[in-house]
Amino acid sequence: MAKKVAFMQGNEAAAHGALYAGCNFFGGYPITPSTEVSEVLSIELPKVGGKFIQMEDEIGAMAACLGASLTGAKALTSTSGPGLSLKQELIGYGCIAEIPCVVFNVMRGGPSTGMPTGPSQSDVMCAKWGTHGDHATIALMPASVQECYDMVAEAFSLAEKYRMPVHVLPDEIIAHMRERIEFREPGEIEITPRKAPTVPPEQYKPYDTSFGDVPPLANFGSGYRYHVTGLNKMQDGFPTTKAEIVQAEEERQVRKVDACIDDIVTFEEYMLDDAEVVVVAYGSTSRSARYAVNAAREQGINAGMFRIKTFWPFPDKQIKALAAKVKGFIIPEMNLGMCSIELERCAQGKIPVLGIFRVDGEPINPEQIVEKIKEVK
């Protein structure tokens, strides 16, 4: 049977990727340039018995997703810059209480209202550090409409597997451009279900680390009665200020992702075998970078591209290995050097990190990147 194909926007594809993963709850608030996600799901979710709710604000949308997730729903919210700022309070709640959900954030200009219809990549640090306190972050970077579909589906699995909110961060170009996509067949993308408790209700503890760094999560209304709080908590879910417990729990919540970094991190290597200059790129910028690498090679320069697909956790190991063997990194990004900071950290001064930073609402074009590639001696 031929695959179902369609010509659609990144935002629309994200909605369909969510449905593929079994998303049955959407809580949102209208915001440019991500609104199409909610429009599609307002049509599609009730058809499959799912729930769509437009909340009174961005914080409420995040809250509704977390509440729904605790009952076992697969919950999605979509937003953009100012909305991501507002959601941070409860993204932190999702981190500490360890509640799975997916946050699809379309990056537009900022800070504040910024340029609502212009593309940017300036939320990458906000996704990581926007909410206060120490916490793990997983953030995926689609560079095509197909990847909006695929990565949203994968994000649901990561959210359940690591019991936490997971970000998908397309820039506005990826979210709004139209491409051909293939709808995935069942089984084509692995869908990880929630790890359910194996103990009877009277023995259940929501943060029972005897089951590993990601304890099973019982659904509200399934016979298990337990407590959830945003306070530092003990294994039974009740608050504590005992120093050794707080320290251990905080460390576990970061370790649960750090220890699995090789299973989580995804990336694409393009013409890296003999590359001397490596363009590190993500999102729509990687499309210009690919073109630039081809153009540079036509001019006799051994250029290559490392495309970041998982921005958080950052692919330290791969970037460090590259820094040890190439002459320089080029980092084109639609912000004033956010990924550049991470590259500098990984390069440790061994090779130059040359940035092309644009925040004028225009995409970075291949010629700019080719010129920068030529600067590496």
Binding site: N24, F25, G27, I43, P46, K47, G49, K51, I53, M55, E56, D57, I59, G60, A61, A63, A64, C65, L66, G67, A68, S69, L70, T71, G72, A73, A75, E89, L90, Y93, P201, F220, G221, G223, Y224, R225, Y226, H227, V228, T229, G230, L231, F238, P239
Partner: protein, 272 residues
């Protein structure tokens, strides 16, 4: 035989955090009696709260309990109820949590008429942070941040709820302990968004700043200002000055609740 509260309480979680003389424990006992009257299935009941002294209530009760972030109880609870409409969803919290930082979620939960019960313990103050004025602190009263008297006018929570679309609104006081369970039970039974405001006392951070010499004096004040709605019908405006109406203040059984309406959305979507 004395009422057995313990079967509804989580073992080992008492003593509670509330100060001696605080009315929150009276409200919790009222809620437990209401749950008992209605024979609520505790496995299928969620109590959702925000942040503050009153929001610590859910932790003591042995059901699904969700102590959320400041002001966000109604929004979290909306997610719970939407995703699982068959669950009994009860919210609780204080006046600051519900009407200041949570004011937007509160009025929209009222507007949607989503079938949940919100118990607001109104002690006119932010207690947990040490007694700052809330949107319910009476004008002229003292708080740690109104050293010269509160310049702000206060909210009337019941009127706010009615105006925003709640279809059951009641008010009681911590003094009238035996009425609390009846109001809460009626609210839970009501199909739609129900609000029960309980006028409460905070001797520690409100009472001592406002010249109440004792908890008894604060309780006596609640006794004196409360006028049952039925009794108020026979009183003059002059007689009602400074009084607060108690009992079921508003009830509308004609409006459909939100999850029932969304079930119709699903029907319409699937019919196409």
């Amino acid at each position: 035989m004395a009422f057995d509260y313990e079967k509804y309480l989580r073992p080992g979680k008492l003593p509670h955090i509330w100060c001696p003389g605080c009315g929150h424990g009276i409200v919790m006992k009222g809620l437990i009696r209401a749950m008992d009257t209605l024979k609520l299935d505790m496995k299928n009941t969620a109590i959702v709260s925000g942040i503050g002294c009153a929001s610590r209530l859910p932790g003591y009760i042995d059901c699904c309990t969700l102590h959320t972030a400041h002001g966000r109880a109604a929004a979290f609870a909306t997610g719970v109820k939407m995703a699982k409409p068959e669950m009994n969803v009860i919210l609780c919290g204080g006046d600051g949590d519900g009407t200041a930082i949570g004011g937007n979620h509160f009025i929209h939960a009222c507007r949607r008429n989503i079938d949940m019960t919100y118990i607001i313990m109104n002690n006119y103050i932010y207690g947990m942070t040490g007694g700052q004025f809330s949107p319910c602190t009476p004008t002229g009263h003292k708080a740690s941040t109104t050293p010269y008297g509160n310049p702000d006018p206060g909210f009337d929570i019941a009127k706010l709820a009615i105006g925003a679309g709640a279809t059951f609104v009641a008010r009681g006081t911590a003094f009238h302990a035996n009425q609390i369970d009846k109001l809460i039970a009626e609210a839970i039974q009501h199909k739609g968004f129900s609000v029960v405001e309980i006028l409460d006392d905070c001797p520690t951070t409100y009472g001592r700043r406002n010249k109440y010499k004792s908890v008894i004096e604060m309780m006596n004040r609640l006794k004196e200002v409360a006028v049952p709605v039925k009794a108020a019908e026979k009183m003059t405006a002059e007689q009602l000055k400074g009084k607060v109406l108690t009992g079921v203040l508003y009830k509308d059984d004609t409006k459909s609740d939100y999850t029932t309406e969304y079930a119709k959305v699903i029907e319409r979507a699937q019919a196409k």
